[in-house]
Symmetry: C2
Subunit: 212 residues, 2 copies
DNA sequence: GTCTATAGGGAGATAGAC
DNA sequence: GTCTATCTCCCTATAGAC
């Protein structure tokens, strides 16, 4: 609430604060990605944006709040939501390629995903909910494809959705250890090709008289 | 070197020390699995075996050495190496089921796998080498299956091996977050069924005259 | 909003007695 | 081998001036 003062609010003093927070969240993303939540320090985040440790904690009251900000910032960068229907497979591959080019993004994800399985970790519910949501989203997309006859017979949409998610997470970890040897997008595409059938050549939309 | 004193060495004082170390390694496995390497403390390991923190560090000089011991202990428990040839798929599934019943084992693996991608982590080379080794082992097994005509046409053994490994790691993480919803063995089996062909009913060994 | 100073709590590792 | 005592370091978070 509250846009301060006159109408020209986008240039008001709050714009600068919001930008500051964005910078801090970005720095936190990099630090926690490189060192993990427990290994990273607020001081290091502060150094990266050129301010003191206490100033960072002025914007985000605790270290845990800083992590949440980093995760939300990551979502803002990464989560172009996958397309629907026919474009599902395509957009999964496209997003994998996109993530590969955003440094620190995969690191943060892989490190925190593992770390957050531990007791009392501030990102635990974030990942719980994320997995739950993505599993049902993927399953629904694949169910639509199945109804359109685009899924190989015998492939279960729920299982395939879970598998796709697990494969994606797992391949990111392998890529972090050996980026030169792993082609994330190609590996995902190979799996999708395995479960999907090619689109019928001519859908025969209505009954086209031999048009030009 | 040096079996102390007389010939009855297996009962000698070293046997007790070896057993002590095993206990410590087991406790370290549990602690680092539940809290991660950076989140876990030597003190907590010590508490679990009922000795002081300094006594633990007498057996393993540093915390990092303690982690290595925990990983080696884990390998000793878990690494029944997968079978070859026809039994490959079967033994992968069997090992997944076996791991599920060994508490802490999957936790340690998932937590440290993510954590060790961070800078200067003592388990980094452990996982680097593990991934490298398993990728080539899996690829070789799948190449043999391909030669035997047991792989679906168009499936590349290297890609499938990398995929199987990624899927396995990824499904373990999902299982940790939602054990009730995820069936690790079934998910792995579904993938293997997807890339493999059933064994031919009668292999027609040489040229059997219409034998009984 | 930003800083310096500091409180307050652990952590890993060492020294040395028993 | 095991302990107690301790060193040294670093981290999060707070207090309060500017």
């Amino acid at each position: 609430m509250a846009i301060k003062g006159t109408g020209r609010s986008p240039r008001g003093p709050y714009a600068k604060t919001a930008e500051r927070r964005r910078q801090i969240a970005q720095a936190a993303l990099e630090v926690f990605g490189a060192r993990g939540y427990r290994g990273g320090t607020v001081q290091e985040v502060a150094d990266r944006v050129g301010m003191s440790q206490t100033s960072v904690l002025h914007h985000f009251p605790t270290k845990a709040a800083l992590l949440v900000a980093a995760l939300e910032h990551r979502d803002a960068i990464a989560d172009e939501s996958p397309g629907t229907g026919d474009r599902f497979a395509e957009s999964v591959v496209r997003q994998a390629e996109h993530n590969e080019g955003a440094p620190g993004l995969i690191e943060l994800y892989a490190v925190l995903c593992g770390e957050s399985t531990t007791e009392g970790h501030p990102a635990r519910t974030y990942f719980e909910e994320r997995f739950e949501r993505l599993r049902s989203e993927y399953a629904e997309e694949l169910r639509h494809l199945a109804e359109a006859g685009r899924l190989r017979p015998g492939v279960d949409p729920e299982t395939a959705g879970t598998t796709l998610l697990a494969l994606w997470d797992g391949i990111q970890v392998q890529w972090l250890f050996a980026p030169a040897e792993i082609d994330m997008a190609a590996t995902l595409k190979a799996y999708l090709d395995l479960i999907m059938l090619p689109a019928p050549a001519a859908p025969a939309p209505a009954a086209p008289a031999d048009a030009p």
